[in-house]
């Protein structure tokens, strides 16, 4: 009697709804993390006086504190200072900013691997700072780090469950909410875990393939 198949089947649609929210959080969060991280990396690399130091600390601090506590902070404290979003939007912003600290480090590694000669050639062609980043450095820097960024996307997908703590109604929330209505946790939690696996395993495999492809081009 431990596992109730009929019950398990009946909750799958609701859990799939939750999975869809999780995927949405991940997609928008990824967009934020990729763009913001890029900005942070470029600013830090450009040694812009005050901003650079500030972003250094930003990366350090975000990576040194738990996502859950950051989410609580944004959820509870920001409304007090007049910044208010729905839990979903708050969650997406928090996880996006959190991961931007990680992607910034990835981009930095990518930027560092662009040879000095590429910078010098850009100067020799009189490209402006923006043109240099846009046409020469970033295309090369990003290409090499696509797999590493991909790994963080998968990681974000899994970490988005933490946002359930600030009432973002994603996959895990759906599972616990089913639990509170039906008073059973076994099936919803197990199926939620399997759904996470069903997305993250193929994604990880895909990234591995991409990595091999980039390592041995053509």
């Amino acid at each position: 009697m431990i596992w109730d198949w009929a019950f398990a089947a009946s909750i799958v649609p609701s859990l799939l709804d939750g999975l869809w929210v999780t995927v949405q959080v991940t997609l928008v969060g990824t967009a934020i993390a990729l763009l913001l991280g890029l900005g942070v990396a470029v600013v830090r690399y450009s040694r812009i006086p005050l901003l650079g130091k500030l972003f250094d600390f930003f990366v350090l601090f975000v990576r040194g504190t738990p996502l859950l506590v950051q989410a609580y902070f944004a959820f509870y404290v920001l409304p007090n200072v007049g910044v208010q979003f729905s839990p979903l939007v708050t969650g997406i912003i928090v996880i996006g900013i959190n991961y931007s600290a990680y992607t910034a480090e990835v981009y930095r590694a990518g930027i560092q691997s662009v040879p000095a000669g590429q910078w010098e050639a850009s100067t020799a062609l009189s490209l402006s700072a923006v043109q240099r980043w846009r046409f020469v450095v970033l295309p090369q820097a990003v290409r090499d780090v696509v797999p590493a960024l991909g790994n963080y996307v998968v990681q974000m997908f899994k970490d988005s469950a933490i946002l359930s703590a600030i009432t973002v109604f994603e996959l895990l929330s759906h599972a616990t909410s089913i639990g509170s209505g039906s008073y059973r946790y076994l099936e919803p939690l197990t199926i939620a875990g399997l759904l996470f696996l069903a997305v993250s395993l193929p994604a990880a495999k895909l990234i591995k393939r991409l990595e091999l492809r980039l390592a041995h081009p053509r």
């Binding site: 040194g64 504190t65 859950l68 996470f196």
Partner: protein
């Protein structure tokens, strides 16, 4: 701020629990990482296959889901862990799965000749591991393990969601009672940050002690802090 002063002992008690979770978690992480990593590399299918499944499952699902499962679902299979045990187990298994890939990576990165040199001396598989492979692989594992440990420390905050009274849990409680939301969360953010910082510095020390070569080429303290390669240990 003054509202939360009476609750400071409670917060410190939570910090203690958080540190205890981290300490026990680190031990379990290392044990699991070596067990799973070494089994994964075994040529025996009945060892490598289960290790592979374990690693994929624990790296493929959310730490929080694992925690909820151990806490609320496992009892139905007759295994009833106290909350602290369920918590450190989830932390240790999850981070251990990442650590397993670190162990495997460091060992496979050794030159093939080391293993062959050891075979040519008739060392047994155990002796090869003990005297030749691990002493060389372990120093290489320290920086990535440092990152895993910082992750572990941060993930201890999740146990607050399954009734373990860690720092985050206590903070929520104090907040609910006093309403001093900003002060409480500000305080614990700083506490976590300091703890993570100290942990990283400690790992940096360990790294230098195990590998005394070329200190001037080492990255600065801040660079070393929170350095991380690909998450999936690749």
């Amino acid at each position: 701020m003054s509202q939360i002063l009476p609750f400071l002992p409670l917060l410190l008690n939570g910090l203690l629990i958080t540190l205890a979770l981290t300490a026990v978690g680190v031990v379990i992480t290392v044990l699991v990482a070596f067990a799973a990593g070494l089994c994964r590399m075994s040529r025996r299918r009945w060892l490598s296959w289960p290790a592979g499944v374990f690693i994929e499952i624990f790296r493929g699902t959310s730490m929080l889901v694992q925690l909820f499962w151990l806490f609320f679902a496992l009892p139905f299979f007759g295994v009833q862990l106290v909350p602290f045990a369920a918590a450190v187990l989830a932390l240790g298994l999850n981070e251990g799965a990442y650590g397993a890939e670190i162990v495997r990576g460091a060992i496979t990165a050794l030159p093939r000749g080391q293993r062959e040199g050891a075979i040519a001396l008739s060392l047994t598989p155990y002796q090869r591991m003990r005297y030749v492979i691990l002493p060389q692989a372990i120093p290489a594992m320290i920086p990535p393990f440092g990152n895993v440990f910082v992750d572990l420390l941060k993930n201890t905050s999740l146990v607050s969601l399954v009734t373990v009274a860690d720092l985050t849990f206590r903070a929520q409680m104090v907040r609910a009672t006093t309403g001093a939301t900003t002060a409480v969360f500000g305080t614990i953010l700083v506490l976590y940050f300091v703890a993570a910082y100290v942990l990283s510095v400690g790992m940096g020390r360990l790294e230098r002690r195990m590998d005394p070569g070329r200190p001037e080429l080492r990255p600065t303290l801040l660079q070393r802090l929170f350095r991380r390669g690909g998450v999936v240990g690749s």
